[in-house]
């Protein structure tokens, strides 16, 4: 019977239009992610089970003589677990990433709190100052540390002068794990400040009034109200620092010594140096697994503290 359907003709048109809008708007980014993240990811996983090609790349899947055909293998994974050096590089990289994250957190928290509690007018200016370093090139900023930490720099002279006064051997600041750590913190600090600020800025100031009113000292107000409420900001800031530091190769390349190889350098070396694509892929996959494991652990730790709105 006509006119009996629940959705009338104009209403159906509206529904169709809404559906179309959804696809038009979310389609391009979806396609982008599919093309440049999902498909390369799958290619990387597949590559890790292959043999390296003679001149780099992957071994061909066809061969004139079937006896020489190199098909699918677990060789790269066996190799990864057979030599403890790779595990050691992983552990060292994770420690470097953890140290960077912790230092960034302790430096960024007071700064973010200061910005969040400043008058509204000056907040925007301060946030601008935090992101201003991005206006200059990343490599230039890292190279600048070569000058700051170089053997003839004022800083090196000061440090070694002090050490000499204490009767200790002089040290090289540049080309050391210390230089790598300093630059890692320097480069990633804004990534910690911004999510923390975004979180702290949203806190209802009347909660602090209430806590004070109910007998909490300034210290208790921080640990019992501000800090627990800022945990989501701490977690997102930590993720934004920890994950890129774990895979970073440029900073240790430029500022690290010859003995300061991190995972990032190792992977880069497989693709550009030894031209062993399958092993490079395996290392990348292991890195992804490590990051996911750590994220899962952090989420579990966070979950145990109780969740709220």
């Amino acid at each position: 019977m006509p006119g009996c359907s629940c959705v009338t003709e104009p209403a159906r048109k509206l529904v169709t239009a809404a559906r179309l809008t959804k696809w038009v708007v979310s389609g391009p980014p979806f396609l982008f992610l599919l093309l440049f993240f999902v498909i390369p990811g799958i290619i990387m996983v597949l590559a890790s089970f292959r043999y390296p090609g003679e001149f780099g790349g992957l071994a061909p899947l066809t061969a004139a003589d079937p006896a020489t055909l190199q098909g699918v293998t677990l060789e790269t994974y066996r190799f990864f677990f057979s030599d403890p050096i790779y595990g050691q590089v992983f552990v060292k990289s994770i420690f470097m990433a953890l140290a960077t994250t912790l230092i960034c957190l302790t430096m960024a928290y007071p700064l973010a709190l200061l910005i969040a509690r400043s008058p509204k007018k000056s907040r925007d200016l301060m946030v601008l100052l935090v992101i201003l370093p991005f206006a200059s090139n990343f490599l230039i900023r890292v190279y600048a540390w070569m000058i700051v930490l170089g053997p003839q720099s004022a800083l090196s002279r000061l440090v070694n002068g002090l050490l000499h006064g204490l009767g200790m051997e002089p040290v090289h600041l540049l080309f050391s794990p210390f230089a790598v750590l300093v630059a890692m913190v320097y480069v990633h600090l804004p990534f910690m400040v911004l999510p923390l600020y975004t979180n702290l800025e949203k806190h209802d100031p009347s909660l602090l009034d209430a806590a004070q009113d109910l007998g909490a000292s300034a210290w208790q107000r921080f640990w019992r109200v501000t800090f627990p409420l800022s945990l989501p900001g701490i977690f997102s800031g930590s993720a934004l620092v920890f994950i890129p530091v774990l895979g970073m190769f440029a900073v240790p390349d430029i500022l690290g010594g010859t003995g300061d190889m991190l995972i990032g350098n190792l992977i880069k070396e497989q693709f550009l140096g030894t031209r062993d694509w399958p092993f490079g892929s395996t290392l990348s996959i292991m890195l992804t697994i490590a990051v996911l494991l750590i994220a899962w652990l952090a989420a579990r730790l966070a979950g145990r503290r109780g969740s709220y709105g």
């Binding site: 009347s206 007998g215 709220y308």
Partner: protein, 361 residues
């Protein structure tokens, strides 16, 4: 000695005088209300009692002790905030236990006191819920419980019913009265809603532009406002511009331009010629048809202008001969019949010689 003594307190923000030489004394166990329009200084007084703000001049004494050097967290004064300010990362029980933990009470005592107050506000089954899972009324009760649990000397309430809908607000008013009576803690309540203030308070201080206009019990405040501001702010009141023509011990005779004379209750030192208003509540004004109400000393003819049907009562707005509009209120006690008079009806208004009051300019 009153429990809370506010002595000549003044607070300025730049050129603006928020609180102007205010003195109040609040007795132990009292439900005391600061009532006034927004910007009258009532919240500033509350913040100074709590310790979030300091007076520029004057003293605030609690149990005879000056609070000037005691920071907010050390004052035995707790506040129920307008926004409730419940900690979103804590459960109801943790929120309520917060002041007890800050006071470093033993764990067993904290558990017992929390349980007891939860029962008192009927939230035992919500102990483990988070604030975002509660309704407005429940949040309100948690905020009250949290403010009361450590038994402060004073509980300050900053428009705590403002965010609730009308029906819930009425229920909460009754809960508040009962709760205050049960715990016996002094409440200092801040509101701009006069109905709320009249229903809840033992005494009310009406504030206007940083000053206290009048402090009195609700019935006296309503029945005998001392100034035009108080008369106007508390409830509805009719006002007729008038001038004293005779002043005796027994009565006042007032002249109202274009209308005639009114016999009003006596007022001390009201000299002949004093200008002001004659003020009378709508429920004191009687309305009748021509020929009725002649036995009353004050009666005038008029025309019904408007009719406001409010359910339990109807309000008739009657225009008098001089153009002034006077409201008369009639209860709708007879079922069904609510419109005794229609617009444009010619009616009589009258009131007793001892009703209403003369308020000087």
């Amino acid at each position: 000695m009153a429990q809370l003594e506010i002595r000549n307190v003044t607070r300025r923000f730049g050129d603006f005088v928020a609180v102007d030489n205010v003195s109040l004394s609040i007795e132990a166990g009292e439900f005391f209300t600061l009532l006034g329009p927004s910007g009258c200084g009532k919240t500033t007084i509350l913040r100074m009692i709590a310790g979030f703000d300091l007076p520029d001049a004057g003293q605030i004494l609690l149990d005879g002790k000056d609070l000037a050097d005691t920071p907010a967290e050390k004052r035995p004064v707790h506040t129920v905030f307008q926004s409730y300010a419940l900690f979103p990362h804590m459960t109801v029980a943790q929120n309520i236990a917060f002041p007890l933990r800050m006071a470093r009470r033993p764990a067993a005592e904290i558990a017992g006191m929390t349980r007891q107050i939860l029962e008192q506000v009927h939230l035992t089954d919500k102990a483990d819920a988070y604030p975002h899972e509660l309704s407005g009324g429940q949040k309100q009760r948690v905020a009250l419980a949290r403010g009361l649990v450590n038994r402060p000397r004073l509980l300050l309430l900053d428009e705590p019913l403002g965010a609730l809908d009308a029906k819930l607000r009425e229920e909460m008013q009754i809960d508040l009265i009962n709760l205050q009576r049960d715990v016996g803690i002094t409440f200092v309540f801040v509101t701009h809603a006069q109905v709320e203030a009249l229903a809840l308070s033992h005494r009310i201080a009406v504030m206007d532009q940083g000053r206290v206009a009048q402090v009195d019990e609700p019935a006296r405040l309503y029945g005998y406002p001392k100034t035009r501001f108080v008369a106007d702010f508390i409830g509805h009141i009719n006002q007729l511009e008038a001038q004293v023509v005779e002043s005796t011990h027994g009565h006042l005779r007032l002249a109202v331009a274009g209308l005639g004379e009114i016999i009003a209750p006596p007022l001390k030192d009201a000299a002949v010629g004093t200008k002001g208003v004659f003020a009378i509540r709508p429920e004191q004004v009687r309305i009748g048809v021509h020929g009725e109400l002649d036995e009353l000393k004050n009666h005038f003819a008029g025309v019904v202008h408007n009719l406001l049907y409010r359910g339990e009562v109807s309000i008739y707005q009657v225009e008098l001969a001089n153009g002034a509009v006077v409201e008369a209120l009639l209860p709708n006690s007879a079922p069904g019949k609510a419109e005794l008079f229609m617009a444009c009806d010619e009616v009589k208004l009258g009131w007793r010689h001892d009703a209403g009051m003369f308020l000087r300019d």
